[in-house]
Symmetry: C2
Subunit: 175 residues, 2 copies
């Protein structure tokens, strides 16, 4: 299954850390790339590239000017679009259906998502119907969708690898 | 099971949104309260109170000056301390053991967690051994610990309730 994330309406100052967390969650939880719209932010892209260099993998961050066009093309190419929103159908009710898809675009918004995204999405899915965090929603969605695959994912090409430890930090140089 | 979160070293400007997301995740994923140390931040506390007023529940945000003392007292009172860190033991390896605890303090750091927390924690647990987000780590931890309880949690005393919907936003007034 190929998974991409689309983060709508990034604002360079207000969202810097939130969008960085989101990209790192995408990378750690087995997505291939994060598209983002709004303000172009080279330091966001640099931050994720830096994590790839240190810990491996080829997770991409790609700026898109016209995110709606991306969503429409994604669907024309046979991909499915899952919009995560507190207003949507609870994940457990649609998870098995979504698992049948080969190619998924996970759409998450900033504060106000334009209504058209509720219309063009194949699924509007809630990770609880409470307000919380697009970072948390994406992580729980991917963890459940992929059955915990992220815990066993190996990244290649990095400089370091963590050795899980009951106490302290063990980091070994691998590249 | 009673669950609290301890967020270390909050910095009022840099961490405002990240710590707010963390509190909202705690609330949505069935924790009872979030303690936080570092800078005292009335606007953070206000933000979470506001969500309680709108959507219900009694999730608390409590400032602590001496977080290490809180951790030590927690253990003296028979509670267990779970420190979430990318360097720790993968959650699947310790989940069943942690499920036996009645009272859990989930500790998450900012950028640099003082080494003493690795020592005083009962469990140093990783939600993957990759760098990502304390918000995501907390959400996935609580989702797995409680077996998805958050999806069926009812909040009382709020003004609004979301009615899950395949398209658009349905919010009803309940109070």
């Amino acid at each position: 299954m190929d998974i991409s994330i689309l983060r709508l309406s990034h604002r360079i100052i207000r969202d810097k850390r939130v969008t960085t967390h989101l990209g790192l969650v995408g990378r750690a939880f087995c997505a291939s790339r994060m598209y983002y719209s709004g303000d172009r932010d080279p330091s966001l892209e640099e931050k994720i590239r830096d994590v790839n260099e240190r810990f491996g993998g080829g997770f991409e961050v790609i700026y898109v000017k016209d995110p709606l066009r991306l969503v429409k093309r994604w669907r024309e190419d046979g991909g499915r679009v899952v919009h995560l929103t507190m207003y949507g159908i609870p994940l457990p009710d649609v998870l098995e259906e979504i698992r049948q898809c080969d190619k998924i675009l996970v759409v998450v918004g900033g504060e106000k998502v334009p209504p058209v995204y509720f219309e063009v999405a194949d699924y509007n899915v809630s990770i609880t119907n409470q307000p919380h965090s697009e970072i948390a929603a994406t992580a729980v969605f991917l963890d459940r969708l992929l059955g915990g695959k992220a815990f066993y994912q190996e990244f290649t090409g990095g400089k370091f690898r963590v050795v899980p430890s009951p106490r302290g930090k063990k980091l070994i140089r691998v590249g």
